[in-house]
Amino acid sequence: MAILVIAEHDNAVLKGSTLNAVTAASQMGDDIHMLVAGSGAQAVADAAAKVSGVTKVLLADDAAYEHQLAENVSLLVAELGKDYSHVVAPATTNGKNTLPRVAALLDVAQVSDIIRVESADTFVRPIYAGNAIATVQALDAIKVITVRTTGFDAAAAEGGSAAVETVAGSHDAAISAFVGEEVAVSDRPELTAADVIVSGGRGMGNGENFVLLENVADKLGAAVGASRAAVDAGFVPNDMQVGQTGKIVAPDLYIAVGISGAIQHLAGMKDSKVIVAINKDEEAPIFQVADYGLVADLFEVMPQLEAQL
């Protein structure tokens, strides 16, 4: 039986996280179908058809799927999913929102946030904020899986030539409605896709001071992230939070500035290739995971760093 991968997209662009999910799926089996559920999402389906390893694209184009409301999309995915061995989605907020609903409708367990595939039914995933790594075997006939994108390389976006099939009909549960959204617009790379991230914590003092990080980020082509404390304090918006309950990142270079290094923050960034910590407290736990630590006042050294890049 084939594997169904749920595409992450905004009706216009196929998101990179989908490509990591395809790689994970390719380790579970080799017939990979991709579902694009959206509204006016033909361009996404066309992009999905080109992804290397995808053998068929299913396009469900209907107003009911425009905003990825879980109540509607889960009905569609559960209906299609019955004929698959695996239903796989990236562990984005969309995937996390919709897939457990699909699993319950199919009466199967979900294995969340996998970082490795051992075999078609056995997966590795972090638990306890990454302080333990569990190997789990899924016993149900249909495996419902969300994929932590940092655990898998992206599949090639080009090279495939899958056929696009249209899925007829509409699943509108008519119990929820989209009201509005506030989407952060930024010229910088997305946190989860960036090669370099500069993150600030409570030590930044306020939101204005994040300009010190933005200046360095601009020099490095980096994304800007934050600790929970910085988000809670209102310095920066929630979509910048890195950690157990925020975004999980693993860039080539992660620069933590004025961040103490709580377990929950480390859970989101300790798989980064190189970690730099800048903190005025030499006892801060962040130094225990940092490749390069600089004990200093950030307000002094960040302008110097900007000047020297």
């Binding site: 979900q110 638990i127 004990v295």
Partner: protein
């Protein structure tokens, strides 16, 4: 309006868990346990709805070993009116918990169910969505704001791109994110009062749900440790190392 809140007993968030030497599981013997932080936020939200006159009754539910009653007492001390404990020593998967909650929802008929978005032990982030599916209810997951207006739940959700607001028919399920509220501390008089609030115990069999395992935990290992690197003395040295040693800039 009747509100149901769920609470899970988990390891205290300040404690770093250790893996058992035989790699069968984590070691929770003599570890400090507490109410899951996201569940605490759920209880707080329900209490605020009651204080605002929107909610009239708060029922707290927990599933697990006898000791989970401690967390239910905490919920009662924070302001829940009564508690239901489904007692079992068996390991419970999200789907089983959702099935048992669906039975309780059938009996209690709440107008709103507030749950944590994830438990900090299994980090699954599943149960609320599963319960929503089983009970045919809409879901507002990862909520940073909740308003009840004209018979709908208006939920602002923390999503990857920013914030999204949805309007849900009621009854509805809301799962909490960190910024929904800041939970209060239970006062001593309220802790005393909580001891006398009603706490009903049930078993999975009473609810007609069989506790079955759909997954098998094969092993649990400690994560690859990162070792601390070096301290640099200056920005010059840092930049030099990043360029020539780590080669990341």
């Amino acid at each position: 309006m009747k509100v149901l809140v769920t609470v899970k007993r988990v390891i205290d968030y300040n404690v770093k868990v250790r893996v058992k030497s035989d790699n069968t599981d984590v070691d929770l013997a003599n570890v400090k346990m507490a109410i899951n932080p996201f569940c605490e936020i759920a209880v707080e939200e329900a209490v605020r709805l009651k204080e605002a006159g929107t909610a009239t009754e708060i029922v707290a539910v927990s599933m697990g070993p006898k000791a989970a009653q401690e967390q239910l007492r905490t919920a009662l001390a924070l302001g829940a009116d009564r508690a239901i404990h489904v007692e079992t020593d068996e390991a419970l998967e999200s789907l089983t918990v959702a099935k048992m909650l669906a039975k309780i929802v059938d009996e209690e008929k709440p107008d709103l169910i507030v749950m944590g978005k994830q438990a900090i032990d299994s980090d699954n982030n599943q149960t609320g969505q599963m319960l929503a599916a089983l009970s045919g209810m809409p879901q507002g997951t990862f909520a940073s704001e909740l308003k009840i207006e004209d018979g709908k739940a208006l939920v602002t959700r923390e999503v990857d791109g920013g914030l999204q607001t949805v309007a849900l028919n009621m009854p509805a399920i809301v799962t909490t994110d960190l910024r929904l509220n800041e939970p209060r501390y239970a006062s001593l008089p309220n802790i005393m009062k909580a001891k006398r609030k009603p706490l009903e115990t049930k078993t999975p069999a009473d609810l007609g749900v069989e506790v079955s395992a759909r997954t098998k935990l094969l092993k649990v290992e400690p994560p690859a440790e990162r070792s601390a690197g070096i301290k640099v003395d200056s920005v010059e040295q840092l930049v030099e190392k990043l360029k020539n040693e780590a080669k990341v800039i």
